[in-house]
């Protein structure tokens, strides 16, 4: 938010906070898609306890898919997100000076 405000020279707080809601809404949509796909792949049926590979298949949605998402998220932050504390501090100082 500080970085965008500094880069655009405009107050981006509302826009960025609003934008932060977008991934949340996409995740709500993905929830239904991922869970439905996994249930279908393990041939889920009501009132039937899963056995063997289907039991682990059920943890694809519960563990594996979110784990992959997080691993990708970590890689994105490591290699793609370059806004360090120094950059934010410098941007904040310049914003403060601009607004003074």
């Amino acid at each position: 938010m500080t970085y965008t405000t500094w880069k655009t020279g405009k107050n981006a707080a509302g826009w960025i906070m609003g934008l932060q809601n977008l991934p949340l809404k996409v995740a709500v949509f993905l929830r239904g898609t991922i869970v439905a796909a996994v249930l279908s792949s393990v041939h889920w049926a009501p009132d039937v306890t899963l056995e063997g590979a289907a039991r682990q298949g059920m943890t694809v949605a519960f563990g594996l898919v979110p784990a992959i998402f997080c691993a990708v998220g970590a890689l994105l932050l490591v290699f793609g997100f370059k806004i360090t504390k120094d950059v934010v501090d410098k941007a904040q100082r310049e914003i403060d000076a601009r607004n003074a």
């Binding site: 938010m1 500080t2 970085y3 965008t4 880069k7 655009t8 405009k10 107050n11 981006a12 707080a13 509302g14 826009w15 906070m17 609003g18 934008l19 932060q20 809601n21 991934p23 996409v26 995740a27 709500v28 993905l30 929830r31 239904g32 991922i34 869970v35 996994v38 249930l39 039937v48 306890t49 899963l50 039991r55 682990q56 059920m58 943890t59 694809v60 949605a61 519960f62 563990g63 594996l64 898919v65 979110p66 784990a67 992959i68 998402f69 997080c70 691993a71 990708v72 998220g73 970590a74 994105l76 932050l77 490591v78 793609g80 997100f81 806004i83 360090t84 504390k85 934010v88 904040q92």
Partner: protein, 228 residues
């Protein structure tokens, strides 16, 4: 849609009140902690609360009545925030109208700032991963405990453990930001979530260990919520 307008405006207060990145992280941590406390209270008190209201307005309308009452609690809470933060924001009067107008971001500026700012896109994609942990695991938990583990009763201790872990994670992040950059905290939290969620996939046959691993994953989810 209207709910979102108020929600985003209230969340934006963090950047208005917090003057330094550390202030903002502490406020976000507080927000995330109370968010998780709210989730925990709702998981235990939501149904009894709706049932009590159902006794007044009828079973058919009990959830609408719960939304109505809690909507008013939200209005009162947001109004309290409004009064508490008075004076932090510049008032757009005639004297400052020019500066305020110049400071406002236009719709083309919004999209320019998004597409010319890969950092923002990366942050949104990372955020998507974090929210997927919350929503996908919440939706699939009952299927795991009931249909894979064969013990739906484990949902109760599971729900309590993960809610407490997320709450603790969101709370302690305010101390971590004093010791290390929020980017580093975010990376640690994502790696932590990935490791423990993967262990769930590997140790799927042991429901107790699955609860332990998910508790650890949710602790890191709590840490990730207010960062970077």
């Amino acid at each position: 849609m209207i709910w979102n307008i108020g929600y985003v405006a209230n969340a934006t207060l963090v950047s208005v009140v917090g003057k330094t990145p550390e202030d903002k992280a502490t406020l976000s941590s507080s927000r995330a902690t109370w968010n998780n406390i709210g989730g925990l209270i709702w998981s235990y008190a939501g149904l009894p609360f709706a049932t009590v209201l159902g006794g007044i307005v009828g079973e058919k309308n009990q959830w609408a009545a719960a939304a109505f009452v809690l909507g008013w609690v939200m209005v009162l809470g947001y109004f309290a925030h409004f009064k508490m933060t008075e004076g932090y924001e510049e008032i757009e009067d005639e004297k400052h109208a020019g500066a305020a107008k110049q400071n406002k971001i236009s719709i083309p500026d919004m999209f320019k700032s998004l597409f010319q700012n890969p950092q923002l896109i990366i942050l949104m994609l990372a955020d998507l991963a974090k929210w997927c942990v919350k929503f996908v695991t919440a939706a699939s938990a009952i299927y795991y405990f009931r249909d894979a583990a064969g013990n739906p009763g484990l949902m109760v201790p599971y729900a309590l453990c993960i809610a407490l872990a997320a709450m603790v994670g969101a709370y302690i992040v305010r101390f971590w930001v004093k010791a290390m950059p929020s980017r580093t905290i975010a990376i640690i939290s994502y790696v932590g979530m990935a490791v423990f969620l993967f262990l769930i996939y590997v140790m799927y046959a042991n429901a107790t260990m699955v609860i332990v691993f998910m508790t650890c994953a949710q602790f890191f989810y709590g840490v990730a919520t207010p960062t970077p």
